[in-house]
């Protein structure tokens, strides 16, 4: 930021009746809580199993034929 930019900002803040903006402070990252073991198990249980549909079975057969 050049001196010109700072002066422009200062002028705007004076005109709007606000105090000049302070320098932004660095955010302190809070540690994420690890999910409990029970919750993880529940999530795994809820995952739907991929069932082989008729279409996937047909595709597999076609691949086998090509290899032959």
């Amino acid at each position: 930021m050049t001196r010109f930019d700072k002066l422009e900002e200062l002028k705007k803040s004076v005109k709007s009746g606000k105090k000049p903006a302070k320098k932004p402070q660095k955010k302190v990252e809070s540690k994420k809580e690890e999910p409990k073991a029970a919750e993880v198990e529940e999530v795994k249980a809820e995952e739907p199993k991929t069932e082989e549909t008729e279409e996937t079975k047909k595709k597999k057969k076609k691949v086998v034929k090509k290899e032959d």
């Binding site: 010109f4 930019d5 002066l7 200062l10 002028k11 005109k15």
Partner: protein, 165 residues
Amino acid sequence: MAQHKATLERVLISTLKHSTFGSRVAETVASIEAIAAVIAADLDSLAGIYVDYTADSQDEDSVRRFRSALAHKAYGKRVQDAYETLAAIEAVTVTGAPFTAAEVTGTGPHSQNLEVTAQSAMNSRTLGTRISEMASVQDQLLDGLITDNALNPLTLAALEAIRDA
């Protein structure tokens, strides 16, 4: 396209083809506008006159010359407005009379260099002198206001922020 509008500083640097001088003029204009804003916001301590000195120049000849020299309609007017604003503030707060070229010449070791640079960059002796006057007087005015004991703390802090920006 408003978000891509070139700032006064960029336009001056580009048009005058002089990075340092372009920045100096842009800073001077912005500083004058900021001083006027501070005075308009809190003038209780400045002889009790609560006035916005920001000028809207009616000097069409000067405006036209600045517009031509800077190749920019809005910023040409803005520079002339700043010049007149400074003269108005100067007249009331420090010397009691508008500044003249004679008062400014030789005020500092670099004033001569600034004037020569300004005349060269602006391709005009009149406009160059006017710009160098403006820059020198603005510095003097700011220092004069800050050392004025009559200022209240809020105004003083704002002016110091302008000086130290």
